[in-house]
């Protein structure tokens, strides 16, 4: 243990390492490497939290885990393995969620530094808020493939994790998914929606039937007729809500469902002629007569890597329906299935459905391996990148412990050196954004929505929790009476859930005081009422109304909550000697590190890799 030996560190740093109490959040790809570095460096008071269990696909890089550990708690096994390096180190492992209320403000306050080794944005947001509230320095990190990033967050001194808006996950217009797919990803999204329609939670936003409200049809006089048609059940079709009910009626009959989805619905789409004037029209398929019928399967190539014929897809489809039907039945009356890329049948289902639909629309078919990447938002991960980033996390932590937090940097790992020879690029930490709705002295923001169409439940789930990352908010109207519309106490405000905001006289310019006790976070929201936002959008959050610029936007999420994205994300970088304007229009200056005239300007952009929490921020 380096700190146990004199001469490795300066005396004061050596002492500070020995008495430092660390919290590590996440014991996955970065976490395993980090824990090893920490223990060997001489940190001997470490707590780690991870909710996850070990999967076989972790073993190529999470070196504290082995095959016999599959299924066990990451936190527990990481602790056991790392304790071998220093049996006297005091490591406390929590197989638990960081959102758990046991990890409140008092818990965070006991630590000298918090180190994030996370893989999703929701948890990063939460730890960011807890560290701001507890005023503990946080070292944040992320990797994706060959790229990595480390940054330091300290209240009042640096940007917090939420100072800059992160891009929302990549989405596609509903009509592209339902009517006019042109890329494999569109078919993958549709296949996942179909899975949910048949077996999962019914979400009206995930309709898989032809969309008669496609804006491309809007100019058509026949729109009304089409719409009427759609509800008439004339095409053997089913109306919006009944996909699941209809499938159940057929007892998940593969023949019938196949022909409905890939023959009848496609014929119906063909009747919307406007769509096909400039596009290749789709080709309906019939279950009994499919390409690849009678061919023998080439089994010399791995099933996962081979591109299946349409016939093979249909066979898999048939098998999957049987298996998933049984899985569903096993869940009981109200049970649903939750799509999981690591569930054989659920993944097979999406692979075959996406490919059949791709064939119908003349889109190249993909291997199951490729579809899994898209459907599961898998971010490739390797040991070396995680090792390097974990090393950088400790190097930044040492600066904090040496009392040199002002020397901390935002560090990017590149694939190739930049034009100033740097493979790891250090950039100065930015100052806090004075308008940040998280770390500013009086956090506030404006939420633009239609108060007569937004329910309290939607406001809570989609705006406060979904967008503003609160965990258990309390909301009172700043109307002098202190009317409470949402309470974090169970049962107190349930009856409000289905009422509209306007039912509480919430309208334009109403102010709402939001409080998340767990996060020690208060936010004042000003409501801005609009009749209609851009297509399919329910709300928008802006700093103040002057930031609100309606523009065309999209809907329909690309992916479910793929929480896989192994090892994270926040990153990438490319610094160039030329001035680059950022996406947000800001220019950022990095410290000239070389003795040359170095005017380094950092380009910050946000790369969305498609996962719900899993966004690569590139800088």
């Amino acid at each position: 243990m380096a700190a146990a030996m004199n001469g490795v560190f300066q005396k004061s740093l050596q002492e500070n390492i020995k008495k430092c109490k660390l919290l590590m959040v996440g014991a996955g790809g970065i976490g395993c490497e980090l824990l090893k570095n920490l223990v060997l460096t001489g940190f001997n008071d470490i707590e780690l939290i991870d909710l996850d269990t070990i999967d076989v696909s972790n073993l190529n890089r999470q070196f504290l885990f082995r095959k016999e550990h599959v299924g066990k708690s990451k936190a527990e096994v990481a602790k056991e393995s790392a304790q071998r390096f220093n049996p006297s180190a005091n490591i406390v492992a929590h197989h638990s969620s960081i959102f758990n209320s046991e990890f409140g403000l008092d818990f965070f306050k006991q630590f000298t530094i918090v180190l994030n080794a996370l893989d999703n944005r929701a948890a990063r947001n939460h730890v960011n808020r807890m560290c701001l509230a507890a005023d503990v320095p946080l070292v944040e990190s992320g990797t994706a493939g060959y790229l990595g990033q480390v940054t330091v967050i300290k209240k009042g001194l640096t940007e917090c994790y939420e100072c800059q808006p992160k891009p929302t996950q990549k989405t596609f217009p509903g009509c592209t998914i339902r009517n006019t797919p042109s890329e494999p990803i569109h078919c993958v999204v549709w296949a996942k929606h179909l899975f949910n329609q048949l077996f999962g939670e019914n979400d009206p936003d995930e309709d898989v039937s032809p969309d008669t409200e496609d804006p491309e049809l809007a100019a058509e006089a026949g729109k009304a007729a089409l719409a009427a048609d759609a509800n008439s059940d004339a095409i053997g079709g089913i109306t919006r809500k009944s996909t699941r009910a209809w499938a159940l009626e057929t007892d998940y009959n593969a023949h019938k469902i196949f022909n409905k989805l890939f023959r009848d619905d496609i014929k119906y789409l063909l009747s919307m002629e406007t769509l096909w004037r400039k596009r290749r029209p789709p080709q309906p398929l019939d279950y009994d007569n499919l390409p690849g019928k009678g061919e023998t399967v080439n089994s010399s190539v791995m099933r996962d890597q081979r591109v299946w014929s349409v016939q093979e897809c249909a066979d898999v489809f048939t098998q999957c329906l049987e298996a998933l039907k049984a899985d569903l039945a096993a869940r009981g009356e109200e049970g649903i299935l939750i799509w999981d890329k690591d569930d054989q049948h659920a993944m097979d289902f999406v692979a075959c459905v996406a490919n059949i639909r791709a064939h119908v629309f003349g889109i190249p078919l993909q291997s199951r391996f490729g579809i899994k990447s898209m459907a599961g938002n898998i971010i490739p991960a390797i040991a070396t990148t995680n090792a390097i980033i974990a090393g950088v996390i400790v190097m930044e932590s040492l600066k904090i412990l040496a009392g040199n937090i002002s020397k901390c940097k935002q560090v990017y790992l590149n694939r190739v050196p930049n034009n100033r020879k740097r493979l790891l690029v250090p950039c100065v930490l930015d100052l806090p954004n004075p308008k940040c709705y998280v770390c500013s002295a009086k956090p506030e923001c404006t939420v633009v929505l239609n108060t007569t169409k937004t329910t309290v439940r939607a406001f809570q789930d989609k705006v406060l929790k979904g967008h503003l990352n609160m965990i258990a908010p309390d909301v009172e109207i700043d109307d002098g009476k202190g009317t409470i519309i949402i309470s974090s106490e169970e049962g107190e405000t349930e009856e409000n859930n289905d009422k509209f905001l306007s039912d509480f006289a919430i309208g334009n310019n109403t102010r709402l005081k939001c409080d998340d006790f767990l996060q020690n976070y208060n936010l004042n929201i000003t409501v801005a009422h609009v009749e209609k936002l851009d297509e399919e959008k329910e709300f928008e959050v802006v700093g103040d109304l002057s930031d609100f610029h309606p523009k065309e936007s999209t809907s329909t999420t690309a992916a479910n909550g793929g929480d896989d994205a192994d090892d994270l994300i926040l990153m990438e970088s490319e610094d160039t000697a030329v001035t680059e304007t950022t996406q947000t229009g800001r220019k950022r200056l990095a410290e000239p590190h070389d003795d040359d005239d170095g005017q380094l300007v950092k380009k910050k952009r946000l790369l969305d890799v498609g996962g719900s929490g899993d966004v690569v921020e590139i800088s």
Partner: protein, 341 residues
């Protein structure tokens, strides 16, 4: 080449998604010799065993010492006194049962040339510069991929010599936009996104020998040379001082002989820089404060880069670093430089 099995595909899933099946096939055919099993050697061994090479030989003729406990995660305190390679092998093997891990307790300086020709890759850590240059020449003659590296406290370096190296370079290219910009509909934009394609080209890189870089004469009194010195990462010169210590004393500076070794390092700083012909200021006077032991995070960074370079070389996917990676944790330097092309 044999095909990847289902088990391998499951284990290596996340990396195959990054570098592809062909690269994985090349990896699993490679045999690697790692010389020196201190902190850096252990990091490299971990990284390439996890990646799924065919076989790794761990070579070290020295016993585990007290200082190994700050960076060598394969051995426990109880192993002090045992041979480092043998003490490391059991834990190294557990990382990946599909890789053959063997040990050699011989002194690399006493092995005959033929011994080394059984390997595709040789990675020399903890070796004095004379041994590094000898192995580099040998590897060049036999078409073996050569790497070396070391870590001293907050400082570290790696060196790569792949002779003449062929590799595949991937680049995402956008197909030229069609039509006039202002007429572009949303549809067109979608299409132009879709028309991004990955262009793969065959490239070649030619490497220089280590000896040429180490014996480079920096003394010319020209503006070009001054500029070159200024732009060369400080850790190139700093690690040269430590390498000279290793060469002259047959051991590394030690915290157990802190005072004497500090004095010797201060002497060597002047000696080494004079010999190279660079001004003394390129190595800060207090450099020795940060060069004892091997910091685990520095081993992780340097060993991460070195491990990745071995993978890049073997898989022939992507441009290797040419040819020094130089790390200085005191001033945030992590740079790639070619001293002599």
């Amino acid at each position: 080449m044999e095909d990847i099995t289902e088990d391998e595909a499951a284990l290596y899933d996340r990396q195959i998604r990054l570098w592809g099946l062909d690269a994985q096939r090349r990896l699993r055919a490679a045999t690697v010799l790692i010389i020196g099993l201190k902190g850096l050697g252990a990091e490299v061994a971990k990284n390439i065993i996890l990646s799924g090479v065919k076989a790794v030989t761990l070579m070290d003729h020295n016993p585990v010492d007290e200082e190994d406990r700050m960076s060598q995660f394969f051995v426990s305190g109880a192993a002090i006194g045992q041979n480092r390679a043998e003490a490391s092998a059991p834990q190294a093997q557990l990382l990946n049962p599909m890789v053959t891990v063997t040990t050699d307790t011989g002194n690399p300086d006493e092995k005959d040339e033929n011994y080394f020709t059984q390997f595709d890759v040789i990675c020399a850590t903890c070796c004095p510069p004379s041994l590094q240059t000898k192995l580099d020449k040998l590897c060049f003659q036999h078409n073996i991929k050569f790497f070396s590296g070391d870590v001293f406290g907050f400082y570290g370096f790696t060196f790569t010599d792949l002779g003449t190296h062929d590799y595949l370079h991937e680049e995402v290219k956008k197909a030229p936009a069609k039509g006039k910009e202002e007429n572009k509909s949303k549809e067109d934009e979608e299409k132009s996104k879709a028309s991004e394609e990955v262009v793969i080209t065959k490239e070649q890189m030619v490497f220089g020998r280590l000896e040429d870089a180490l014996t480079f004469d920096w003394s010319a009194d020209t503006p070009e040379m001054k500029r070159k010195i200024r732009q060369t990462p400080t850790s190139f010169f700093i690690t040269k001082v430590y390498e000279e210590f290793l060469q002259q004393h047959g051991r590394r500076p030690s915290t157990f002989t802190l005072e004497a070794d500090t004095k010797e390092l201060q002497n060597l700083r002047i000696q080494v820089l004079n010999k190279l012909g660079v001004p003394a200021k390129v190595v800060p006077e207090d450099f020795y404060l940060y060069g004892f032991g091997e910091l685990s995070p520095v081993c992780a960074i340097v060993g991460g880069v070195l491990g990745q370079e071995i993978i890049t070389a073997v898989s022939q996917k992507g441009a290797p670093l040419n040819n020094f990676f130089l790390y200085n944790g005191v001033n945030d330097e992590a740079m790639v430089d070619t001293i002599v092309p």
